[in-house]
Amino acid sequence: MTAVVTAGPGRGRSGRRHRALPAWLLGAIGLAGLVAVVELAPRTGLVDERYLPPFSAMVAALGEQAGTAEFWQSLLETLRGWAAGLAIAMAGGVLLGILIGGVPLVRAALNSTIEFLRPIPSVALIPLAVLLFGTDMRSTLLLVVYASFWQVLVQVLYGVQDVDPVARETARSYRFRPLTQVRTVIWPTALPYVMTGFRLGAAVALILEITGELIIGSPGLGKQIAVAQTSGAVASMYALVIVVGLIGVLVNVAARAIERRALRWHPSIRRETAS
């Protein structure tokens, strides 16, 4: 935690024009560090390699998996469930968030209900989901939507609250219709929060998708992980976990790319691109 609050290099404001390494390279270095740790920890006996095999063993197992159609089928199932769940949660979270956040009365009325529902863990809902939808992907979808919806909703609620009063008054004074106000003032302000909500929601959706598959047994990577777990196939299990983690990394890369375009005007982005 050394770099606290310095105007980091590459910000370009402070004297020396020290060009930082590109972000992707830094990211690769970071991941390489992680790989090294995972490779060396079991090799040096820091952890028992029966329980955490070295990275190379995981990669070998992954290579084996990648040769099977089942793996790709599972990956596809997982991605499909995840994308569908996230899309529903995003749409619902953003719409309801703006609706609830935009009307203080509604917000006050729904506050306690939201706080009641939010901490109910999806895992506790598994029997109910199964009861409703059986063990196919709809059960898992329900869990995914339920869990990631709150992430998005809360972010949007805070985002809506962050609208600059002067900007809002400008919109009001020109008598913008409510929908225009949402589109031109509330939405852009909330957008950075929505992006964070998306990133939080995406990870939670992935987690629940995997967990749902793991416990309910709907098809997907999670089920493969469960099978590997009950079979004591440690390297295979970690190989699958690596795939899940990489999905997370890719989602973030995509989110950042969207952000750079959609939030070009935002201080956080313009500071980094402009000199």
Binding site: D164, V166, A167, E169, T170, R172, S173, Y174, R175, F176, R177, T180, T184, V185, P188, L191, W265, H266, R270
Partner: protein
């Protein structure tokens, strides 16, 4: 629709009343700190009038404008606009905010900022285009329409806000120190822009300024506010010819007289002087 004239000013009686501010009072309630920004303001503005408002810093000019714009609830008293009590922003009004920087949407380009209210007003595309171009031209910014507000200097931002209001062609134009950030020459140009707009469209203008010369040059009346808690100190009628010009008008002896009078009033207001009523 007539009301009691306020202060020493006698207005041309023929003009219909546009705006009627009656015993307006505004107290900001805060935790532990409650500020009586406006104590009692009563005045009327005729349709198509251009009225300047001057007063010490912190007198409540912005507060007054926000109450008139329907953006702020008054504590007591009322604002009547064209016979109707103001409860929210009325149609056909444009406001140039003192915090010009924050009133522009950073996520839009200059052009989009100016165009948006027109879209909202459902002005047809071609017409909109023309209005935007003219307004940006008038404030001297026709070459930056693709830039974002935060890429502009302070004065340029302020001019974008003015262009937005001008392009909107409002009935009622409220301006809160709209020229504070521009240079003298631009300021003069913009003053003339406001006057020509006013004469051409017959728009009613309320203009808050700290520049006493400006208030006298622009206005038909200058309302001088007292120090906070605010009342009207004097309603000065500017009996200069309607045809004004930066050079000749400002060199009229009557201009100097009025200027001196208003200056003295503001100075007294700062000194805490209030009318004996």
């Amino acid at each position: 629709m007539t009301t009691t004239p306020v202060g020493a000013a006698a207005r041309s009686e023929t003009v219909a009343t546009m705006l009627d501010v009656r015993a307006l009072k505004k107290v900001y309630e805060g935790r532990g700190r409650s500020v009586e920004a406006i104590r009692d303001l009563t005045f009327t503005v005729g349709s198509g009038e251009l009225v300047c408002i001057v007063g010490p810093s912190g007198a409540g000019k912005t507060t007054l404008l926000r109450c008139i714009a329907g953006l702020l609830d008054s504590t007591s008293g009322e604002v009547v606009l064209e016979g109707e009590r103001v409860t929210g922003p009325p149609p056909g009004m444009a406001v140039v905010f003192q915090e010009y920087g924050r009133s522009l949407f950073p996520w839009m380009t200059v052009r989009q900022n100016v165009e948006l209210p027109l879209k909202e007003k459902k002005v047809p595309k071609a017409e909109r285009r023309r209005l935007v171009e003219e307004a940006l031209e008038a404030v001297g910014l026709s070459d930056v329409h693709g830039a974002h507000p935060w890429q502009l200097s302070g004065g340029m931002q302020q001019r974008v806000a003015i262009a937005r209001a001008v392009a909107y062609e409002p009935h009622l134009l409220l301006m809160d120190e709209p020229f504070a950030a521009v240079d003298a020459q631009t300021r003069a140009d913009l003053e003339d822009l406001v006057r020509s707009l006013w004469r051409r469209l017959g728009v009613t203008v309320l203009f808050v300024t700290h520049d006493i010369d400006e208030s006298v040059y622009l206005g038909r009346r200058v309302i001088v506010l007292s120090d906070s808690p605010t009342v009207v100190l004097e309603d000065v009628v500017i009996d200069l010819p309607d045809e004004r010009d930066q050079l000749t008008t400002r060199s009229l002896p009557r201009f100097a007289e009025l200027r001196a009078h208003v200056y003295e009033l503001v100075q007294r207001a700062k000194g805490g002087h209030r009318p004996t009523s």
